[in-house]
């Protein structure tokens, strides 16, 4: 009787820990995003725009001071520039950039891939984690570790700014991790009109990417009113923003990595900020 009880307790604990870890890896990580002061510049000769970068659970609510040091502006001709000013506060970082070249710019704050190895060791079936990639894990993990899986995590935080006439060069992809190709140009998103995006994983259209799209102002309404989409066999999603406003799309894909020397699986994100304009 005692034994059974102990066993049961151990099992319950293990389950709790596993569930807890799973939550850490997904829901608990604060999504990182960027919020531009404006998405459009009409001033001849250009204009300054400012960007807030933070990580939080609320849509456009500042919480953790995610850095802007790696921020890049992809210019209309495809070359990359760094922001002119970067400041890090306690609950957000900001950067400013002077937009003067005509066309569409992509603003991106991408981190570097991080690797976590999940394993079991010893007599208990507790799932443990180590900050190690496939190359490092053999030296870090106990001998006879089992159920060893290394996961790559990577998040893009991005948005688009258009000066005058929209262009497409800055929309081009790197062919790495999860990427969003706006079929509907980001400067053409209008309330009540269908929007179409396409997801790519390592340069190929990817089915099964899940994304939730949330309009700003979640603090001031009872329901999130989010739009949930999953990409089809061509990697495409379509949705209609019914109300004008600023939206955050949080897209995630979890998949196997083949022949990757550093990881077995990937959990990759695109956090894309856009505006749906008034008709």
């Amino acid at each position: 009787m005692m034994l059974t009880n102990k066993k049961l307790k151990a099992l319950t604990m293990a389950c709790t820990v596993v569930a807890g870890l799973a939550a850490t890896a997904t829901a608990n990580a604060h999504p990182r995003w960027v919020l531009p002061s404006h998405f459009t510049v009409s001033k001849e000769g250009g204009d300054w725009l400012t960007f807030d970068v933070t990580a939080s659970h609320g849509t456009f609510v500042f919480d953790k001071p995610a850095g802007s040091e790696s921020a890049q502006v992809v210019m209309p001709d495809g070359r990359k520039e760094r922001p002119n000013f970067v400041i890090r506060g306690k609950r957000r970082s900001i950067f400013d950039f002077y937009f003067e070249e005509e066309g569409t710019h992509k603003v991106q704050i991408n981190n570097v891939p991080s690797y976590y190895t999940q394993y079991k060791a010893g007599r208990r079936d507790t799932v443990k984690w180590a900050p190690a990639n496939k190359a490092e894990r053999d030296t870090l993990l106990p001998e006879k570790s089992r159920d060893v899986v290394t996961q790559l995590s990577f998040t893009r935080a991005e948005s688009y700014i258009t000066v005058g006439k929209p262009t497409d060069k800055a929309l081009e992809m790197d062919g790495k991790y999860l990427e969003l190709l706006p079929i509907t140009h980001p400067s053409d998103i209008v309330e009540g009109e269908e929007v179409s995006f396409q997801f790519y994983f390592n340069g190929e259209p990817q089915q099964g990417v899940t994304a939730e799209i949330t309009r700003e102002g979640t603090l001031y309404r009872n329901q999130q009113e989010q739009i949930d989409v999953i990409s089809d066999s061509e990697g495409k999603v379509t949705f209609t923003p019914d109300v004008a406003g600023r939206y955050l799309m949080k897209a995630n894909y979890k998949g196997e990595l083949k022949n990757n020397p550093l990881a077995d699986t990937a959990s990759v994100n695109v956090h894309f900020t856009f505006e749906a304009m008034l008709k």
Binding site: H38, T40, V41, S42, K43, E44, D47, T162, G164, K165, P166, S187, D188, V190, M277, L278, K279
Partner: protein, 178 residues
């Protein structure tokens, strides 16, 4: 002579093909020589602590929702052109020269009258057919109104009246053919 003949066949074939596919082409004739649209346009007096003259864009789109002519653009500084959300997205951002050519200063509350001469932005008389009149009025510290009125431009005169909104007073659109 022999070189003209095949060309004529080609043209008639083309017209026949177009007429089959696109019945609108059947009455594709320019609007009458003297046809024009007179617009009476009122900016209402608004009693508020921070009144700024509104930004105004008035333009005409064809049946394919393509802008054919920006008739009025009252903005002043080009920094604020983007606040005319629809006009900027549909027209302004594509053509800086057009913006420079049509832009003028903002105006105070009052009654205005202006004319669309029936020419497109390139100076050509437009074809008869279905068009839409648009007016977008945006005021800082104030609201935005977006007026739409379908127009059927042929050889028949008409008058349309648009009811007042928050940012616009009486608006009337008179199509005159002589």
């Amino acid at each position: 002579m022999s070189s003209v003949f095949p060309q004529r066949i080609k043209k008639s074939q083309l017209v026949a093909a177009l007429a089959l596919v696109f019945p609108l082409v059947l009455h594709a004739a320019p609007i009458p020589e003297n046809a024009k649209i007179e617009v009476e346009f009122e900016l209402p007096k608004i009693d508020t602590a921070m009144y700024a003259r509104p930004y105004v864009a008035v333009w005409i789109e064809d049946a394919n929702r393509k802008s054919v002519r920006t008739v009025e653009l009252w903005v002043g500084k080009d920094e604020w052109l983007k606040d005319l959300r629809s006009w900027w997205r549909k027209v302004g951002r594509y053509d800086r020269e057009l913006v420079d050519a049509v832009t003028s200063a903002t105006r105070p509350a009052g009654e205005y009258r202006f004319v669309w001469d029936g020419l497109d932005d390139q100076g050509n008389r437009v074809e008869q057919g279905d068009y839409t009149f648009y007016a977008e009025v945006v005021r800082e510290h104030g609201g935005r109104n977006y007026l739409r009125q379908k127009l059927q431009l042929s050889d028949t005169a008409f008058v349309h009246k648009i009811a007042p909104t928050e940012e616009t007073g009486d608006v009337s659109i008179s199509y005159k053919v002589r």
